[in-house]
């Protein structure tokens, strides 16, 4: 039968690898170009700085990707980061050991994710709405708690963590690896990862195949909340304060990184390496634009154009050209 005859089909696996390599090539190309165009880009200091800048968005983007793969969206992550800096700062200043402060912050993140899952699964709210509601109200709660003031963290060791390096690589970048590897194994080699894809592809088919769709949705938002709270801890360490208005707009950067990294907003398509590369491509563009003295307003425009170009070419290839 002609249509059934083996057609050269681009398999998903090949495609993912190919796309990842393309992104990597783009990143390397940017780095080479910037090294040639500026004297300061390739300096160890700047590279370390770039890695720090990109790391936090990268971790957010991983959590965001889990949610997007299920066909949802998490607009709250920026607000969760800001709120988490407050939680961490208050706990440390209250005299709790740092590890307890961190653990408590992470639990807050998971709790917020659980609330999102509840809103979506039990109340039937669209993900966009429930996370949008959290976005605005969480900033409000943070401002109420802090009375609108920043909380300075009185713990030098905690703050030093984000500035230090290990084996010549900034600690913050190690955190990306710490999150990235388990995330990769989880998404591509565990059945829960497979269930995320199946829910995003066809929730009804997944349910009829025995997948616990509700639990899978809960899990996606809890992981996103967890990643965001973790980034909140890192940010608190980096800036040394707790402030609920921090990380303004980071949710959009995380979504942009994820999409540049090949995640489909329609669900069921995505990876871990893609969003990581996407985040560092964005960080490189910002960093390079600063070094080249490009008006910072242009950075936003460039980011927008990049999103359109990458997603457009991705769509072209997906359609099999």
């Amino acid at each position: 039968m002609s249509i059934d005859a083996p057609v050269p089909v681009k398999t998903k696996r090949n495609y993912n690898v190919l796309f990842g390599l393309t992104l990597l090539a783009l990143l390397v190309l940017l780095w080479v170009a910037l090294s040639l165009a500026t004297t300061s880009f390739a300096s160890p200091n700047n590279i370390a700085n770039l890695l720090r800048q990109g790391s936090m968005i990268a971790i957010l983007a991983v959590g965001q990707t889990f949610v997007i793969i299920t066909g949802g969206i998490d607009l709250s992550v920026g607000a969760v980061v800001g709120f988490s800096t407050v939680v961490t700062a208050m706990m440390i200043n209250a005299g709790f050991p740092v590890w307890i402060a961190i653990l408590a912050t992470l639990l807050v993140g998971v709790a917020i994710g659980t609330f999102h899952g509840f809103g979506i699964v039990k109340m039937g709210l669209p993900p966009f709405i429930i996370t949008l509601a959290t976005l605005t109200s969480l900033r409000g709660i943070g401002l109420l708690i802090t009375n609108g003031n920043s909380i300075s963290i009185n713990n030098d060791a905690f703050q030093a963590f984000s500035r230090n390096s290990f084996l010549g690589v900034p600690n913050l970048f190690w955190m990306v690896i710490l999150v990235g590897i388990p995330a990769y194994v989880f998404l591509h080699h565990s059945r829960w990862g497979r269930y995320l894809f199946s829910v995003g592809s066809n929730a009804e088919a997944a349910r009829l195949s025995g997948v616990n769709v509700q639990r899978t949705i809960y899990m996606a938002y809890m992981l996103s909340g967890l990643c965001a709270a973790f980034v909140g801890v890192l940010l608190a360490s980096r800036i040394g304060i707790g402030n609920p208005t921090q990380a303004e707009g980071w949710e959009l950067q995380a979504i942009a990184s994820s999409v540049i990294g090949g995640t489909s907003l329609f669900g069921a398509v995505g990876s871990v390496h893609g969003p990581l590369l996407g985040a560092f491509i964005l960080a490189t563009i910002n960093n390079g634009a600063n070094l080249l003295n490009v008006n910072s307003f242009w950075q936003r425009i460039i980011t927008g154009v990049l999103i359109i170009v990458i997603v457009f070419f991705d769509g072209l290839r997906r359609r099999g050209k």
């Binding site: 249509i3 059934d4 057609v7 194994v185 565990s190 059945r191 829960w192 592809s201 009829l208």
Partner: protein, 508 residues
């Protein structure tokens, strides 16, 4: 300003019997595939021309070429004596070529009237004349003899009714050439009759009808001529009076009709599942049981409560009364996972909506119910995953380059094999197949039926739901007839005639 009704009864430009459309060496190549080899075929004004062939025979390709959805690779199309490009859908519509597709491609969130006039709305001073359109649409529907309200949302209608709306929509567009692609796949007999009346009426008005169907009896009921495609090749055309289904099936495949419904008898074992006075949403007081080695057929019109009954059995919906016994013991089935744990498997009615994750790979789809079993400590065993998927692909003869290909890239018949195949590894003991062969060709049907036999031989029981009487009639050991949510009759194998079963289902 558009007044859609003026197009309802177009004057035929050609005398009936004159050639309206002629294909000369039309062909289509995809990279790696010769989907349609050069075909010469003519369509006469006012004829009903059936096209039959197995899935993948090139019918869909032919439709896409005729409706301008995609450009041809080479060949000429002669419309009313003049060569035409026919390279865009717009061009096809301008000529008067329209199609009614098997899967309804209309807007579920708009009203019936809005769908009928979509793209040709009645507008006055830039304002939509909604009430006028609803009135106009209602008149069209009434004229056609469809008992459908024009003001309701399309999504509130059954798939069969939506199909009728799609047909109505096609008739108001000055259509001279109308293609029906498997229109009755989801229709009840009554809806199908309404559609046939419409088709005959259009024919009388001089409209050329191209009718694509897997159902031989419809072809013989409707068509004037029938053309056969096989493997992208045009096999031949026959006048309907000069052929029979045996010849057509021979032309389509090289297999005889007895080989399709191939049924072996198996020893019945103990009762696997029993429903006692079960009631739920859409059905009432249904009692039945399924034994090991038995196929229990559920026949009835769409909406008779068969699907609701099995989805309740499967834990999708809560029962309101009655009890379910599994291996003789009372069980509470609260979710699909409860049902699966007991050993049930459900291959649902609509592969696109319920059965498949289309943008995931064939392998993932096949393994979805068993990931728990093939992973240890959360991690999936890659070798197990490969083994199970490849085994199903070869056992079921799923035509796919590798298990990594996306499910969406497969033909309908092969997709259906995935929906069924994913349960074979699961080791269930009760299989529920809801309309397993809708839109599937004869060859694939035979393969699916052979699968049933393999399941029975392992001691499983099967519930088979079908709206296609010959299927349940030839396969079921016990045949239950549903009407309006109730089980109205039960027959053994071939103990009642087709007519009796049909009469009980319709309730005349």
């Amino acid at each position: 300003m558009n007044t859609a009704s003026s197009d309802l009864h177009p004057e035929p430009d050609l005398a009936p019997g004159a050639t309206i459309l002629e294909l000369r060496g039309l062909e289509k190549k995809y990279p790696g595939t010769h989907a349609l080899k050069p075909i010469n075929l003519d369509f006469k004004a006012g004829e009903i021309h059936a096209i039959v062939g197995e899935n993948g025979a090139g019918k869909s390709t032919l439709i896409k070429l005729l409706t301008g959805v995609m450009p041809r690779t080479s060949g000429d199309v002669i419309w009313e004596g003049k060569p035409t490009g026919l390279s865009t859908p717009h061009e096809a519509m301008a000529l008067g070529i329209n199609a009614v597709h098997q899967e309804v491609v209309l807007c579920r969130h708009l009203t019936v009237a809005a769908n009928i006039f979509l793209g040709e709305e009645t507008v006055r001073f830039g304002i939509l004349q909604q009430r006028a359109m609803v009135r106009e649409a209602q008149k069209i529907l009434d004229d056609l003899g469809f008992e459908l309200p024009a003001h309701v949302l399309l999504g509130d209608l059954t798939i069969g009714q939506q199909q009728l709306v799609a047909a109505a929509r096609a008739t108001v567009r000055g259509t001279k050439f109308l293609i029906f692609d498997e229109p009755t796949a989801y229709l009840t007999r009554r809806e199908a009759d309404q559609l046939f009346t419409l088709i005959r009426r259009l024919k009388a008005q001089g409209v050329t009808i191209v009718y694509i169907s897997h159902r031989m009896e419809e072809v013989f009921e409707l068509a004037d001529r029938v053309s056969v495609l096989r493997d992208g090749t045009y096999v031949g055309t026959r006048n309907i009076g000069e052929t029979d289904d045996a010849e057509l099936i021979r032309m389509m495949i090289n297999r005889s009709i007895e080989q399709v419904y191939h049924k072996e008898k198996y020893e019945f074992g103990p009762v696997i599942v029993q429903a006692r006075n079960l009631s739920g949403k859409g059905f009432e007081d249904v009692s039945m049981s399924v034994r090991s080695g038995e196929i229990v057929g559920l026949y009835g019109l769409i909406g008779a409560g068969r699907s609701e009954f099995v989805t309740t059995l499967y834990g999708r919906h809560a029962k309101s009364a009655g009890s379910i016994l599994w291996d003789g013991k009372d069980v509470e089935i609260k979710s699909e996972r409860d049902a699966m744990r007991l050993g049930m498997a459900l291959a649902p009615e609509s592969r696109r909506d319920q059965g498949l994750c289309l943008n995931l790979s064939v392998g993932t789809n096949l393994n979805l119910p068993i990931y728990k079993r093939i992973s240890s400590n959360m991690l999936i065993s890659g070798s197990q995953e490969k083994k199970h998927a490849d085994q199903q692909i070869s056992d079921l003869r799923i035509k796919t380059p590798t298990r990594h290909a996306l499910a969406s890239s497969l033909s309908g018949g092969n997709q259906q094999k995935i929906v069924i195949g994913k349960w074979l590894n699961h080791g269930a003991r009760l299989f529920i197949f809801d309309e397993p062969t809708v839109g599937v060709d004869v060859g694939t049907k035979a393969e699916i039926y052979r699968l049933f036999g393999a399941l029975l031989a392992q001691g499983a029981g099967i519930i088979l739901i079908s709206s296609y009487l010959p299927e349940v009639y030839e396969l079921a050991d016990t045949l239950h007839v549903f009407r309006r949510g109730r089980l109205v009759a039960t027959h053994g194998f071939h103990t009642a005639s087709h007519e009796d079963v049909l009469t009980q289902a319709i309730g005349v």
